[in-house]
């Protein structure tokens, strides 16, 4: 298996890509996103259990020129986001050189120790899955101890609740929201130039962190993710208040899968769920 740094050096040397979005370690040893612009920079690239960030978010933040091409280091969960961005016309396939990483799971927070309790739940469902769309593959995947799906337990509990109890549960969770919009900034699928939250004619979402505003923000954000969330769980990781945001997005994804047999970010030429109509769609939920 070719080494990540070797691949990156080759790409930058031949000028096949203008830069590579990857990971590096800062002076405290913490893993952080990094943009390698030269062959020398490529030496700083790395990948391990702490490469948690979904770097696909940078593809829409950094404007890629019309005929330009950039490299990106991506885990298979990040690749889904790249595919979704192609599906949604945000980038073209030829604009990205995907260095797919054989990944053996990542921790929840960048400072977490590599042990079972700290492994992200999404990794449980992605274990040993090789990258599905790539231009080069690097790294080796090793088997690891599967984390417990504590979220599933919570989801089942929520299913059994009455709507009043569920309202109380979410009221309590959304009460914590400080409207920092970190969930939006980190989300690769939140690429709008002007977010609805910033629109004030009319004011769709109250800006101050009041219960009404917090509800409308979090619910609207969740609904905008319906059939679009790729399940990278970055929103929940970025949330400084610890709101279990992926409970909502995961539930929506499950509904999309059950009702329409759809998963976003699986194939670049697949029509999107909201943007397509199928005569055979199950319409039971409308009746």
């Amino acid at each position: 298996m070719p080494d990540l740094i070797e691949i990156a050096k080759g790409l930058l040397e031949s000028k096949e890509v203008s830069f590579i979005i990857g990971y590096t370690k800062d002076r405290f040893g913490r893993v952080k996103p990094y943009i390698a612009k030269s062959v020398e920079d490529a030496n700083n690239l790395m990948f391990d259990h702490h490469s948690i960030h979904n770097l696909a978010v940078y593809l829409t933040r950094l404007k890629i020129p019309e005929n330009g091409r950039v490299g990106i280091v991506a885990k298979s969960c990040d690749i889904k986001a790249i595919i979704a961005l192609i599906q949604e016309n945000q980038i073209k396939r030829e604009q990205v050189y995907i260095i797919g990483m054989n990944c053996s799971g990542v921790v929840t927070h960048s400072t977490d120790e590599w042990k079972k309790e700290n492994i992200q739940i999404k990794c449980k469902y992605c274990a040993d899955k090789a990258p599905m769309l790539y231009d080069a593959v690097a790294g080796t995947a090793e088997p690891f101890e599967q984390p417990d799906d504590t979220q599933e337990v919570l989801m089942q509990k929520l299913e059994t609740m009455s709507s009043a109890e569920r309202w109380d549960f979410w009221a309590k969770e959304f009460e914590k929201c400080i409207k920092c919009y970190a969930c939006r900034q980190v989300c690769p699928m939140c690429y709008c130039e002007q977010c609805l939250a910033e629109k004030n004619q009319p004011q769709w979402i109250t800006t101050s962190p009041t219960p009404a505003g917090n509800f409308s923000w979090n619910i609207i954000k969740a609904f905008h993710m319906a059939g679009r969330c790729v399940g990278c769980h970055e929103c929940e990781r970025a949330c400084p208040m610890g709101i279990p945001l992926t409970l909502l997005t995961r539930k929506m994804g499950m509904v999309a899968g059950k009702e329409f047999n759809y998963r976003h970010g699986m194939a670049i030429d697949q029509p999107t769920l909201v943007g397509s109509y199928n005569f055979n769609d199950n319409e039971d939920f409308i009746k």
Partner: protein, 668 residues
């Protein structure tokens, strides 16, 4: 802003349950309202004058009328305000009739609701902006799809009015089903004798571009400005050099392999053929599926005998594009083939009648060919199996029609009449023969129609039996028709020599495909849908597209011709002016915030969303954004609802306006 509020009693309609004077009084104190009054009939001349007078006296900027549904009188009030100098789009209607008085009976609560409805409209109108109608140019050229009698009539009418027409027919000749008919009810004149002069007129008309053996491939654009691509299928014969001498057809060695479409499979035709002698254009076509040359690479007999070198085995499909202003769909019908259950179809068919298995059980169009002077028997009534004259013929009506359990719910409309005609023609030609008709009801409502049926029964002695047929089977060389006479209350058994089934009319199988190309709705049977069954029967919900003939519903020749002329008139109304005015209620994209996800484009039912590149002065691409083609947009608002960043606004129903309405109601 000074707003005038006008509350209409609508006689008793609103006044009975809503205290209109109280509504006006309440609103007169509402912020922004400069004038409020109630009147018995706002839509009447004195009512409109009240509005005009108030506009002038109080210098009003906007008007709210509390009245009936905007579908009824919005235009009336807009015009009244425009004549008094207020932009017509500064008028809002609060629907106090359908939404309030008609559905409530308690006066105080209905009055309170009416106040709310008017208040909401006042809040909305505060955010209204003066709008101008959208003007689009009109291409004065029509496309007619289908060259049957309906398409021919539409094309001739438009062409005779001086506008160019493109007539597209998928078969090698125009004429449609009418060219196959023997004689036509209720006058019994020869179908071809009255049709073929029209076909020739189409061919010779300087305003008509006739494209046979062609299909519409793509339709883009909008009312007055369609761009249509037509696929001209390869005939394998150069139409510009062929003289129609027919040598190729006579010399083709393949005589028996292909069933004649024109003779409804009662005869065969060569691989190179002209559908019928009077075909227009009289240019043969090679059926590549049976031609020996296309199978083995040998033969070329037609090429050898052709003195004009018109045969071109290598000919390819060609594509032609036309700028079109109006489109008339006249794709016609076919008969429900009951022998086979169509693949994946919900209809069960009539296997018990033996159609397709019993040789002398035929359908109406096959009987037309047998009775036709140009048919396989030269008009003699001879049954297909042994070419003997049948002495007893049973006609069965409503096979598939009016039978939801096995066929279709609708009435095919023409079968009562043509069955009477068939029985009559049979009796005229076979004097000692017996004709029986099994019927459910006789539906003969047309000029001279009932007299025609009476003539069949009373003068020609056709025996009508009210009842259904349960089974048809062969026994000792006879076809046993088992049925019931429900008037006499007895079971019947007739040993017939031939049976004619009046099978249901269904749309051409391509009907739904054509409807999808045109972006017009069609019903569950595949018939194209008009926009209003009574007042707009030939118009579709897509502007500039009209319907003619049996593609819309079962209809006979006079009705098809009348509808075709109506559709032509609608197209010519469009061509009557150079500029088309459209409502300005269309979507608009805010390019600065559009993220270019194009979800709007995917959900747009009218293909109105386009992609627009935004480049800087150096020509570098900044981004690609959505752009609304105002000519195509119908203002449905689906894009507006779909846009995640709310970069699409529906003019006249902008988010701010809707928010103002909701806020005034909820008090937030």
């Amino acid at each position: 802003m000074k707003i005038g509020v006008f509350v209409c009693y609508c006689g008793e309609n609103i006044g009975r349950t809503v205290d209109c004077a109280a509504v006006a009084k309440e609103l007169s104190a509402y912020p922004g309202v400069a004038h409020a009054e109630a009147y018995k009939y706002m839509c009447s001349d004195p009512g409109q004058n009240l509005i005009k007078q108030a506009i002038k006296e109080k210098n009003l900027d906007a008007v709210v009328v509390g009245s009936c549904s905007p579908h009824m009188h919005e235009k009336t009030f807009r015009k009244a305000c425009a004549s008094a100098g207020v932009n017509p789009y500064m008028v809002e209607i609060a629907n106090l009739r359908e939404h309030c008085s008609w559905i409530h009976d308690d006066i105080p609560s209905a009055t309170a609701k009416a106040i709310d409805l008017v208040r909401i409209a006042v809040e909305k109108v505060k955010y209204n902006e003066p709008l101008q109608t959208i003007q689009v140019p009109v291409t004065k050229r029509a496309l007619v799809i289908g060259g049957g009698i309906a398409g021919i009539q539409s094309a001739l009418d438009i062409a005779n009015a001086g506008f160019p027409v493109v007539l597209v027919e998928k078969e090698p000749s125009i004429g449609g089903h009418m060219s196959q008919l023997s004689e036509t009810f209720p006058t019994l004149d020869c179908s071809q004798c009255i049709l073929t002069p029209r076909m020739v007129e189409v061919y010779q008309h300087s305003n008509i571009t006739l494209l046979t053996y062609s299909e519409v491939e793509k339709v883009e654009g909008f009312i007055g400005n369609f761009k249509v691509t037509v696929r001209k299928k390869a005939r394998s014969v150069k139409d510009e050099v062929c003289t129609g001498c027919g040598l190729c057809v006579q010399n083709c060695p393949i005589k028996k392999k292909a069933q004649s479409e024109f003779d409804e499979s009662l005869t065969t035709r060569p691989a190179i053929y002209v559908p019928f002698p009077q075909a227009v254009p009289n240019i043969p076509v090679i059926d590549r599926s049976v031609c020996t040359y296309y199978k083995t690479g040998k033969c070329q007999m037609c090429k050898k005998v052709c003195g004009r070198e018109a045969i071109d085995f290598e000919q390819q499909d060609t594509f032609l594009t036309f700028d079109i202003g109006a489109i008339i769909a006249a794709t016609g019908y076919k008969l429900y083939k009951i022998d086979k259950k169509p693949e994946g179809h919900i209809y069960k068919g009539y296997g018990e009648y033996g159609y397709g298995e019993l040789k002398d059980v035929i359908d109406g169009l096959q009987f037309e060919r047998i009775a036709s002077a140009s048919g396989p028997t030269s008009g003699e009534i001879l049954r297909p199996s042994d070419k003997k004259e049948p002495k007893k013929v049973v006609f069965v009506q409503c096979v598939g029609s009016r039978d939801e359990s096995k066929g279709f719910s609708y009435c095919s409309k023409i079968c009562c009449m043509y069955t009477a005609k068939h029985a009559m023609l049979y009796k005229h030609k076979v004097h000692d023969g017996e004709a029986y008709v099994f019927y459910m009801d006789i539906r003969s409502n047309g000029k001279g129609y009932d007299e025609f049926v009476r003539r069949a029964i009373e003068e020609d002695g056709v025996k009508y039996i009210r009842g259904r047929v349960s089974k048809i089977y062969e026994e000792n060389g006879k076809y046993i028709v088992k049925g019931e006479d429900t008037i006499a209350g007895v079971r019947m058994e007739i040993d017939a020599d031939m049976v004619v089934l009046a099978t249901a009319m269904i749309p051409q199988p391509e009907n739904s495909k054509v409807a999808q190309l045109l972006g017009i709705p069609y019903d569950k049977h595949g018939f194209m849908q008009e926009v209003h069954p009574k007042l707009r029967p030939v118009e579709t919900s897509t502007g500039g597209i009209f319907l003619a003939g049996a593609c819309h519903s079962p209809r006979d020749i006079p009705e098809s011709v009348a509808m075709a002329s109506a559709a032509a008139a609608k197209a010519m109304v469009l061509f009557g002016s150079d500029i088309l005015e459209r409502e300005p209620v269309v979507a608009k994209v805010e390019a600065s915030t559009c993220a270019g996800c194009f979800y709007c484009q995917k959900v747009c039912a009218y293909s109105a969303i386009e992609r627009k590149e935004i480049r800087d002065r150096q020509g570098n691409l900044i981004k690609v954004v959505a752009y609304v083609n105002a000519g195509l947009c119908q203002g449905c608002g689906t894009c507006n609802a779909t846009c995640p960043s709310k970069s699409v606004e529906l003019i006249g129903f902008r988010d701010e306006q809707i928010f103002a309405e909701i806020q005034s109601l909820s008090g937030f």
